[in-house]
Amino acid sequence: MPENSVGSRSQILGRIQTALKKPSPSLPEVALPPIFAAVNNPLERFQQECALIQVECVLTSDLAGSRAAIEKTLGSVPAGEVFLQDAPELKKIAEGWSVQRPLRWSSQGPPPETTQATVTLAEALVALTGSVLTSAACGGRGASIVPDCHIVLAKAEQIVPDLETALAQVVERGTAKTNSYVGLITGSSRTADIEKILVLGAHGPRRLVVIVQKQS
């Protein structure tokens, strides 16, 4: 069906407009209290939250430290290709490392089904919930969902206290406008559909590793 063919658009809108002629009761303006307590120490809180949802959080102090942390993580991942976001920081890390695996950069196409691990950057980290904010710019959509292990490299100053700040930043920086995908990832892929028992790695990553680098 061509773009201009829109089904029963005018009929549905007409019914909605007729229905809304009977107004809903107006609500009195009230000042509602915040729904979460303020986050005081974002870095510490982020680490605590990660522990609660089985996310491996590694703190490093510089690029060399981050390189070592990625090498160590990849050392425990089964043999196979590694996919990396084509970003200057990650290029710099891969230049001097000891990893002996086939690499695929995001500029060469999306990660194939057999990808064991991916390494990407993040838009932000959310302290309140231990979440990683990603977008299509972070190596694409598949980078954070196709592999068995997703490694995220982020700077400590990327940590925002809560969801409100994270979403305000998405609006302010135009992230939602320039990306067809924006995703808040809180823990690895999981299911409790069998007898409410938690199992990690339902369809996507079994492991989510977040490397927080203190200095740029």
Binding site: T18, L20, A176
Partner: protein, 469 residues
């Protein structure tokens, strides 16, 4: 009594006497209750969170046309297609026609109750398309050829042993019934489907008007794969899913996750604005959103019931409901089960489902737990009133209430019939006829020991001990 009502009573009687079913549901809901308790305690003010969520949805629903138009405009600006479907048939035909025109063979689906509502899978499969449900619970019930048992946890009624037997029979290679092994079997099978599918169909948790994005939450990540790998992505959503602003998700995401599973946030809170944009690594070539009315605008036209459109399908009212806990999800015979289903179904499918308004003790647990503050048990009461006004109740019930009113309107008649009832019941019990066809209270006493009848009535006790003092 409608055929649907008779089926409901039969299934409810069967399920409430099924001990394995009772045990499975109790275990599931107990673990849910514990998780939700922990989840709510993470909020500094859960009631304020409910009030915020309620206000966001109220604003959206009471300006529904404006927010839908803004959403449509933003989706189209990114190159997406928006199709407005007045009813189930129009929505089904759009997806089928699209699939056929684009030579689609295999479809992967992320969990979506609205596609259950319009019976999309049957239509697609009849036309020779292969449809894979990819949420683990949905996949399990699809293999069993049955509808989801619960809005959020579709396979809640099954034990690991039953699932292991099912997988062995349908897939093979089952070595034990431990959940990680079963999940691994489904993962292997479903990844083949993900990587070879031509079309992904998802629902939507929210349609964000100002950003022009569809918010989709999944824990398993199946929603992510469905919207990343196939070349076409179709979103099916009810018109009531629209919300005004991206920032509203700072309230709605944690409120939905907490009420749905007790989590702080669902693992993948995903926003999709359209097809793969220029310069992006991956994503579909085409993006379609189907906005479905299917009775929702009629609900909107009733200011008394309008707030039912606030529902975010978290499933909390099902888990809280003493009726659901006893009869289970399949007894309802509806797409949406539990209190929200009992409120909604007579509007979506007609008065032959008005019996569901009576499948409630009116205890109000649903209303108390609802994260968007829908006054569920009051709506059940309103539906009862409407069903009676429409003559949808049996004449025996109407007669019974007429007689009851006549008896209650006079002290003498009340005294006489009270005496008659008591004496009659004493005789029935004394003759050992309790629970038989001659027992007027047989529906109650069939499964229960009848209570001891007091020697004196309240009126006698009052007269002898208190009157005039």
């Amino acid at each position: 009594m409608s055929a649907a009502a008779q089926d409901f009573l039969r299934r409810a009687a069967e399920k409430s006497a099924d001990l394995l079913h009772r045990q499975t549901i109790r275990r599931g809901i107990d673990s849910y209750d514990a998780a939700v308790g922990r989840g709510r305690s993470r909020f500094s003010d859960w009631q304020a969170a409910r009030e915020r969520a309620f206000r966001i949805k109220q604003e959206a629903v009471s300006h529904l046309d404006q927010y839908l138009l803004r959403f449509e405009q933003n989706i189209q600006a990114r190159g997406g297609h928006v199709f407005w479907a007045a009813d189930a048939a129009e929505a089904r035909n759009y997806v089928l026609d699209l699939a056929q025109r684009k030579q689609v063979k295999r479809i992967v689906k992320s969990k979506s109750m609205v596609t259950e509502e319009i019976h999309l899978n049957e239509t697609l499969e009849k036309s020779g398309l292969e449809v894979w449900e990819t949420d683990l619970g949905e996949y399990i019930v699809q293999l069993r050829n049955e509808p989801p048992y619960h809005i959020v946890t579709p396979a809640m009624h099954l034990t690991r042993t039953q699932i292991a037997d099912l997988f062995q029979q349908k897939i093979g290679g089952v070595t034990s019934d431990d959940p990680p092994g079963l999940v691994a079997i489904a993962r292997r099978k479903l990844r083949q489907a993900f990587f070879s599918a031509d079309m992904g169909i998802s629902g939507a948790n929210f349609l964000v008007a100002d950003a022009g994005m569809v918010a989709l939450n999944t824990n398993e990540g199946n929603g992510r794969l469905c919207t990343t790998l196939p070349r076409i992505h179709v979103v099916m959503a009810g018109i009531e899913k629209v919300i005004p602003r991206l920032q509203d998700l700072a309230t709605l995401w944690p409120v939905l996750a907490t009420s749905g599973t007790g989590q702080h946030l669902t693992s993948y809170c995903t926003l999709i604005g359209g097809r793969r944009a220029a310069g992006e690594v991956d994503g579909p070539e085409e993006f379609h959103v189907v906005l479905l009315d299917n009775g929702r605008s009629e609900l909107l036209a009733d200011p008394e019931q309008r707030e039912v459109l606030h529902c975010i399908r978290c499933g909390a009212c099902l888990n809280a409901c003493p009726i659901f806990r006893n009869v289970g999800g399949h007894a309802y015979g509806t797409t949406y089960q539990g209190p929200i289903g009992s409120v909604l179904t007579p509007h979506l499918r007609g008065l032959e489902f008005s019996h569901l308004s009576f499948a409630s003790s009116l205890c109000g647990a649903c209303t108390e737990t609802c994260p968007v503050k829908i006054n569920l048990h009051h709506h059940l009461l309103e539906n009862r009133r409407d069903a009676i006004a429409a003559g949808a109740r049996p004449w025996t019930e109407r007669m019974a209430f007429r007689v009851w009113r006549w008896v209650m309107a006079s002290a003498a008649r009340f005294r006489f019939f009270g005496w008659l009832g008591k004496t009659g019941l004493r005789m029935v019990n004394a003759l050992g006829l309790t629970g038989t066809a001659l027992d007027p209270l047989r529906k109650w006493s069939k499964y229960r020991v009848p209570p001891e009848l007091p020697a004196a009535s309240f009126r006698q006790i009052w007269k002898e001990s208190y009157a005039g003092k």
